[in-house]
């Protein structure tokens, strides 16, 4: 058996990945000695768990910290605070697994299919890079490359020795997916993986992702701004706004009965296929506030039609509403919001 194949350790009930209190603030400009610096609060105290075999969708406007979450989960950037546990093993802690071990089990597909492939390497060289770096002999690496290419629907004889610029966008993204699978990971983070593709190619790649998932027993974190795609692919959906989770729950609950005003606004902003149901007015106005200096209390209050005093004073925490978790004072009994149930 392949020694590089990670084994399931905690059983199906244990979350594959548990991240708690992840925080990443990027310093911007400011003093040379680091004093009086401002920070972009890209991700603020984010806690999430990914169950084995599920697809967790992450949605939100651009700039809300989706990609930062992806890069934090694979440790391309180091979180300021927070812990991660991969199938029971704490990551980068004395008794846990190393970051390198995490990266073998968690891989990522990037959005820009062109920038994420080295223009000087052939497809085969790109795909063989990670297995070789982990010590797989050249002959076996070559077999794996052929195997990977056929998995993503590209004929190895035709594509292995090509260069990235000789492929179409959809083919390149297939190669990117193959690269993410090269180390036989358990969790694949797809950061806007199909956003740059045109609709017909996007559908093909999405179907391929679904097939690969069941074939290889993968778990996905699917990050996208495309609500329809997320609905199609996800089991659970996480809605982010300015580095915070505003709503989290099963896909039917989020799309069927959204609770947070932001989620509702997002969903009603979806273009309808039916011309009689056209959107008459913009559901929310303006751009998200500057994450350097986010609003006090609830970060969405500046654009929320239901904002009240309490929203500026107290930050709402994620609260279970039965089917999903929502971070909104309107759904917390006794929060002080006029629409909330009295305590």
């Amino acid at each position: 058996m392949d020694t590089m194949l990670p084994v399931d350790r905690g059983g199906p009930a244990q979350p594959l990945l548990l991240a708690s209190g992840l925080r990443k603030h990027f310093p911007v400009g400011g003093g040379i000695l680091g004093r009086g610096r401002k920070v972009v609060r890209a991700v603020d105290d984010l806690t999430l768990s990914v169950a084995k075999g599920e697809t967790l969708g992450v949605v939100g406007e651009s700039g809300c910290g989706k990609s930062t979450v992806a890069r934090l989960l694979i440790r391309l950037i180091k979180p300021d605070t927070g812990t991660m546990v991969l199938d029971g093993d704490p990551v980068d802690e004395p008794h846990g697994i190393t970051v390198n071990e995490l990266r073998r089990q968690v891989q990522m597909v990037f959005q820009d299919s062109y920038a994420s492939l080295n223009p000087r390497l052939t497809i085969a060289e790109t795909l063989a890079f990670a297995p070789k770096a982990h010590g797989l002999p050249a002959a076996e690496a070559r077999d794996r490359v052929r195997d990977l290419l056929s998995k993503v629907g590209l004929d190895p004889n035709n594509y292995a020795e090509r260069y990235p610029h000789e492929l179409s966008g959809g083919q390149r993204q297939r190669v990117n997916i193959a690269r993410a699978l090269a180390l036989r990971p358990r969790l694949v983070i797809l950061d806007e993986a199909v956003s740059a593709l045109d609709k017909s190619v996007e559908a093909q790649v999405l179907n391929m992702l679904v097939d690969l998932k069941s074939e290889l027993g993968l778990t996905y974190v699917f990050i996208s701004h495309d609500l329809n795609v997320v609905q199609y692919l996800s089991d659970r959906v996480l809605v982010m706004y300015l580095g915070k989770i505003v709503e989290l729950g099963p896909v039917e609950a989020i799309y069927g009965a959204p609770q947070h005003p932001y989620t509702r606004a997002l969903l009603s902003a979806r273009p309808s296929m039916d011309p009689r149901r056209r959107t008459r007015e913009a559901p929310i106005q303006g751009d998200p506030p500057n994450p350097i200096d986010p609003p006090s209390g609830c970060r969405f209050r500046t654009r929320c039609p239901f904002a009240e005093d309490v929203c500026g004073r107290v930050e709402p925490l994620l609260a279970d509403t039965g089917r999903q978790e929502v971070a909104c004072h309107m759904h917390v009994a006794g929060s002080g919001h006029s629409k909330a149930v009295a305590a």
Binding site: V99, N100, F129, A133, D143, R146, E161
Partner: protein
């Protein structure tokens, strides 16, 4: 794994595909474009001729470049036995120009190669590691940058004394900062690409990533820049010799010859300009070749 079956019968076509791809590789296509560029081809041919004649000088049957003669001073061009005339001490000009190419070309290429190794290493390190390392390396380079390169070369050579080794050393020091800066900026740019992130996410070590993913993408621009520096190096080396800070007489070297023939400029101006013509031809050829190289490499792979 169950899905590995297709690989069994496909050994032969893969070999074929590799052979076909070798003709389409990036450097192959650069070479093909270079061959189609007449200016670059001519410049390369001229440089090749200069280098070959300098290397083969002892076997070309030339007159002794050191043999002086008070009787045959400052013969004009086209004199019998002295095709390009003689210099102020009666030495054969053709022989001295060809022998001079040995030192001049050597002094042009060597400092750039040394600076390429040191500056490239520093620049790629600074660009790839980033942060404080980048800060430390680049600020030290900025100190060197504060002086104009000619002034820096003159003062370094002046401080260390005349001589070939000191000239090489001072020219190397002069060229490290610009090469380092170019290497740093292209490396920083390449480091920002997703494929480097993807390589990091695969858990590969920094050295492996630099070797496989960074070097191939930064070497081209750095080499183009270094080629353009060779002409500067030749001119600087000649300048230092002209000032008496470089090669010592009676060694034939274009800059030094220009200096010693200075007095003959009213007697035989064409003769006095010959070493300058050689410097001009060499440096312009290196420059044009650098431009051609840039154009050939400046395509989306």
């Amino acid at each position: 794994m169950a899905i590995q079956t297709p690989s069994l019968e496909l050994g032969a076509p893969l070999v074929q595909a590799t052979a076909a791809a070798a003709g389409r590789g990036y450097w192959k296509s650069v070479a093909r474009r270079l061959r189609r560029d007449p200016v670059t081809v001519i410049c390369a041919a001229v440089l090749l001729l200069l280098v070959a004649s300098a290397l083969a000088a002892p076997w070309l049957g030339l007159a002794d470049p050191y043999k002086t003669s008070m009787l045959r001073r400052l013969y004009p061009l086209g004199s019998p036995n002295h095709l390009l005339g003689t210099d102020e001490l009666g030495r054969d000009m053709l022989s001295r120009l060809i022998y001079g190419g040995r030192l001049s070309l050597f002094m042009g290429v060597t400092p750039v190669v040394c600076a390429l190794l040191i500056g490239g290493l520093l620049g790629i390190t600074a660009g790839f590691v980033g942060g404080r390392t980048n800060m430390a390396i680049m600020r030290v380079m900025d100190v060197f940058y504060a002086f104009p390169s000619v002034l820096l070369a003159i003062s370094l050579s002046g401080a260390m004394g005349a001589g070939t080794e000191n000239t090489l050393l001072s020219l190397t020091l002069v060229f490290i900062p610009p090469i380092c800066r170019v290497s740093e900026s292209v490396t920083t740019q390449v480091r920002g690409f997703d494929f480097v992130d993807a390589a990091r996410a695969s858990g590969a070590g920094a050295l492996t990533i630099v070797r496989v993913h960074v070097l191939g993408n930064v070497l081209g621009p750095i080499l183009v820049y270094a080629t353009s520096l060779i002409s500067v190096a030749i001119i600087l080396a000649a300048g230092l010799s002209f000032l008496g800070l470089g090669v010592k007489p009676p060694e034939p070297e274009w800059g030094l010859m220009l200096n010693t023939l200075r007095q003959a400029i009213y007697v035989n101006p064409v003769l006095a300009a010959l070493p300058g013509v050689m410097i001009f031809i060499t440096s312009i050829c290196f420059n044009m070749m650098s431009d051609g190289l840039r154009a050939a490499m400046d395509v989306k792979a």
